[in-house]
């Protein structure tokens, strides 16, 4: 037996290259569209070209007669096939019946009307065009404020006020705070509709084996087990005969948490035609029919004392819901309410949310999901308050931050912030730019007639979603660790990574806990027939919740490893370190490979110990985690064109302990790109008829590589107390920090022209109009 006890290299905290990347960059990964089953048919979906219409009649005969077509389904066929689920519950919530295919009305452009199944995707698309639908076009309403105005067309005729729900939350004594305030600042702030635009569109392959009563569904999802449980309920199938696989998933950003009509519809179709069927969403469909994000109109009031102490916040949110409620649609603005105080101490808050139906695609979780809206609002309001009080934006923030000795800090909205040092990232960002000098440069630039801005955002966010009572489907996570007879380690996690890199970070955790090389570890996920059960990947929960479940599964395994080690070494007590059990009395040790082999061969068993080396752990988090950070942005506005140049972008994020700095930086970069997208370019614009006029990449401005500034990333580290890894989550931080930092910077640049607020996106024309109007005034 081996006697040399050298501790192998450790992996946590190091810049380990992503183990996912070789298959991705060589184009050999298997996405849904790469799956081809024998005898498979293809579906195309005919969708409504109108925002609102009654369907007088549908003639499917020409499509049925078309070449290669085997079946056509309309709303009549799927009427009893179940509904698209909404998992969020709010008191008095009006949930419109959401059939798989339109019944007698269509409610938004893209609403599925019929499904055509044919021998290939081209024939299916051609045949779909042959279906004749007689529409009686009605007036649509695509703007949430217009939808709530009296006399607006009713999106759902049974609810003429277009109100799905109202939601109220209050803490402290708001009226007193406002009555006693020295200053009150009010502002209407919008957070526009956005299209998540995952690189891979959605897609489904459904395969029904009637003799086995077995259904397999391959789908591009963030939550395969949720899809399985919901499909089982909806279709009345036995859950243990249903297998859902999320193969390689090319991004989701929240848009693939939902269980969509097409997933249920393809299962239904496969069961009808007794053949596998594939549907792949086109990019155009992705724009129209995958959930959108944001869609807020917010009315803020903030009360303060003359010295800058914030004493109260009032917020009214009008949430544009779209026509239907998808899985989490109504819950998203309630997350904004939870995070409305930001990092500030005030205990007096009042929020009222109105959920408005519109003839648009549903909104739902998009990277940040409710928190970017809340952060954008409070960070804009704090800047406006600072301007009102003629304070520096840094000073007002430092004055109002929750103090370091106040953690765990119970907020006015009922949360408990776990840990924090809110001034630290702000001070670090100021240090990076030499803030005093930068303000002096700005004063010089202004004297020279330049429009230079410095914008700060200090954000807080709610991650590691989350304690089960706070979620619609459970908030725990699971992991199984199997040490194979050869000693190789297989990890099965309940999360479903789709770009986050947990095949790497989880291998780092397992390698260090077991003291083996990272190449010994394989991390599997995304297949309900392999993985015990899981909640999935969203809400910056993968590592903080799923990684913690893995950590505990590894701890569960260690005593068993030691029992086997002790037996093999004939020792009373051994230590387990560096991949070996060692008897310190004799200095003899036995490797984990030898232990694994013995545990499966089982010629002898330690007392009270079963063969094999596996452990499964389901972990329920006691709280969310609350990462925070400071982003600082320097901009310059071109007076002649209104173009905005980002001169510097500093991101200081505190996500607790860092398992892999390279992956954390990647998350910050990607998040900032999407936050900049909202601040400067992206907007899902519906016209008055409910037509999405930015429904192509030629009109919807996604951030491109050449449009990105250099992002100077750094970190402070304040571990969470919620999990033993001390990790908080970082998937959404960049998105949350970026938009207020950029807008604050541009408002600061234009403040000499009397500007105090700008709504996103900050298009050059919008800026030019302000600059030229001001020039007209001074000329």
């Amino acid at each position: 037996m081996a006697t040399i006890a050298t501790k192998p290299e450790t992996f946590v905290g190091k810049r380990i290259r992503r183990r996912e990347d070789p298959r991705l960059i060589t184009g050999t990964a298997t996405y849904v569209d790469d799956i081809k089953l024998p005898g498979m048919y293809y579906a195309a979906i005919l969708r409504s070209p109108h925002g609102a219409a009654k369907i007088r009649s549908i003639n499917i005969k020409p499509a049925l007669a078309a070449k290669g077509v085997v079946a056509v389904f309309t709303g009549k066929d799927t009427e009893h096939a179940g509904m698209v689920p909404c998992g969020a519950a709010l008191p008095g919530l009006r949930v419109p019946p959401h059939h798989l295919l339109a019944m007698d009305r269509v409610y938004f452009v893209g609403h599925p009307v019929a499904a055509v199944v044919a021998a290939d995707r081209y024939l299916a698309a051609d045949a779909a065009e042959l279906i004749e639908v007689d529409y009686d076009v009605k007036q649509a309403v695509a703007d949430p404020e217009k939808a709530l105005a009296s006399g607006a067309p009713a999106v759902h005729p049974q609810w003429p006020d277009n109100t799905a729900f109202t939601f109220h939350q209050e803490g402290g004594d708001v009226d007193k705070a406002f009555a006693e305030a020295d200053v009150v600042v009010k502002q209407r702030i919008t957070s526009q509709r956005l299209v998540p635009n995952a690189m891979e569109t959605r897609g489904v392959v459904a395969d029904w084996r009637a003799a086995e009563r077995a259904l397999t569904v391959f789908t591009s999802t963030q939550a395969p087990h949720t899809v399985r449980s919901l499909l089982a309920q909806i279709l009345g199938l036995e859950e243990n005969r249903l297998r859902v696989v999320a193969p390689e998933v090319g991004g989701g950003f929240g848009s693939k948490i939902d269980t969509y009509a097409e997933e249920i519809l393809m299962a239904f179709v496969a069961m009808k035609i007794h053949k596998p069927v594939k549907w792949i969403e086109s990019r155009r469909e992705n724009f129209l029919c995958t959930i959108h994000g944001r869609g807020h109109v917010d009315f803020y009031e903030i009360a303060a004392k003359r010295d800058g102490e914030i004493t109260g916040i009032k917020l009214k949110i009008i949430q544009d819901l779209g026509a239907y409620l998808q899985l989490l649609t109504p819950a998203i603005p309630t997350l904004s309410v939870l995070m409305m105080p930001g990092l500030y101490r005030t205990k007096n808050v009042r929020a009222d949310v109105v959920g408005a139906f519109t003839n648009c695609m549903a909104t739902d979780a998009y990277r940040g999901a409710g928190r970017p809206e809340a952060t954008h609002g409070i960070e804009r309001m704090v800047d406006m308050l600072a301007a009102e009080l003629q304070m520096d934006p840094v000073e007002i923030r430092l004055k109002n931050f929750v103090h370091n000795d106040e953690f765990p800090f119970p907020t006015a909205t009922g949360l408990v912030y776990d840990s924090g040092d809110y001034a630290a990232p702000l001070r670090k960002a100021m240090e990076v730019v030499d803030y005093t000098k930068l303000r002096a440069e700005q004063a010089d630039a202004r004297r020279a007639g330049k429009l230079m801005g410095i914008g700060i955002c200090t954000y807080g966010e709610l991650c590691a979603v989350g304690p089960s009572p706070a979620t619609p489907v459970g908030g725990w996570e699971s992991a199984q660790v199997k040490i194979e007879p050869s000693g190789k380690v297989t990890v099965m996690t309940g999360i479903s990574p789709h770009g986050q890199g947990e095949e790497t970070t989880f291998a780092q955790i397992a390698a260090d806990e077991l003291g083996v090389d990272i190449d010994e570890i394989l991390v599997s996920h995304g297949d309900t027939s392999l993985v015990q059960y899981g909640i999935g990947t969203y809400g910056s929960r993968g590592t903080a919740v799923g990684g913690t479940a893995l950590y505990f599964a590894l701890q569960d395994l260690k005593p068993k490893i030691k029992k086997w080690g002790a037996m093999l070494l004939d020792a009373e007590e051994v230590t387990f370190e560096g991949g070996k059990c060692t008897d310190h009395k004799t200095g003899k040790s036995v490797t984990i490979q030898e232990i694994a082999a013995a545990s499966y061969r089982a010629m002898r068993l330690p007392a009270n110990t079963d063969p094999g080396l596996t452990a499964t752990h389901f972990w329920e988090p006691p709280n969310f985690t609350f990462p925070f950070g400071a982003h600082l942005v320097v901009t310059e506005v071109d007076r002649a064109t209104g173009n905005i140049a980002i001169k510097r972008y500093i991101a200081v994020d505190d996500c607790g302990n860092i398992l892999n700095p390279m992956l954390v930086e990647g998350q910050v970069h990607g998040g900032v790109a999407q936050g900049l997208g909202q601040a400067l370019w992206e907007q899902a614009v519906y016209d008055d008829n409910g037509q999405l006029i930015t429904g192509e990449f030629t009109d919807y401005t996604m951030p491109r590589a050449h449009m990105m500034p250099f992002i100077e990333t750094s970190h402070t580290i304040t571990p969470t107390t919620v999990n033993p890894l001390g990790v908080k989550g970082v998937g959404e931080a960049g998105t949350i920090g970026a938009s207020p930092a950029v807008v604050n910077s541009v408002v600061d640049a234009l403040s000499p022209l009397g500007v105090r607020h700008l709504d996103m996106p900050l298009t050059p024309e919008k800026i030019w109009k302000i600059v030229s109007k001001a020039a007209g005034r001074t000329a």
């Binding site: 995707r121 469909e285 064109t641 491109r704 298009t763 030019w768």
Partner: protein, 281 residues
Amino acid sequence: MISQSFEYTAPKTLDEALGLLAEGAKPLAGGQSLIPMMKLRLATPERLVDLARLRDLNYIREQGGNIHIGATTTHYEVESSTMLRVKCPLLSATAACIGDVQVRNVGTIGGSVAHADPAADYPATLQALEARVVLKGVKTERTVAAADFFVDTFTTALEPGEIVREIVVPVDPSGTSYQKSYQPASGFAVVGVAARILKSGGKISQVRIGVTGLSNCSYRATATEKALEGKAGSAEDLRAAAALVAQGVEANSDLHASADYRRHLATVYAERALIAALAKA
């Protein structure tokens, strides 16, 4: 995003291609506009004739003080041609502003000008260069000035059955510059201004300005040209001339820029193009 079915032919000779086009087929060059339109079913041609594979339409050669550029020469080939960079730098600089790398690798000069997108980059430059477009039919060949070739939005002097065979630009001694405001999503020009300036005896002797993106069709801004000729080219001269660039033009308006903003941008980018061109004149 799936086109209707269509017949595809890749002929080996230009004559063969022209024969098929005369029968009503639609020409395909780089496909950077046509293919997306087909995928959205906004264009539903039944027969496509692929011109991009015709070797005898791919060339850049100098001949008698002019440079002839074959229709299937890609934007990248125009951008990177050493000859063009030296002898007609305005054209290669313009090509470098088109779309993105992928588009420039596949898109062709002939396809772009024949498509006549009102926001395309080449038309401004071809107007400023007083370029000529050679059109070829089965039995015909004719040469049309750029000013006459671009007629309206997506409309040119091409007759049915004709293709753009080549573009002819002069060997250009002017100081030149192409300046554009990018539509951020598509990379097309919100407005683009191409400027050429010749100096003689310390004064501006000749100016040519081409404008794209502002209206239904590219054009020569003759008022700006006249305002500068004979001037010394002071900052004030340039500004005053640039202010005339959108004179009498009905400006487009869309989500990305209102008519007023477009007109304003035209003057800004005209001034920038004039300043840069004069510095090189």
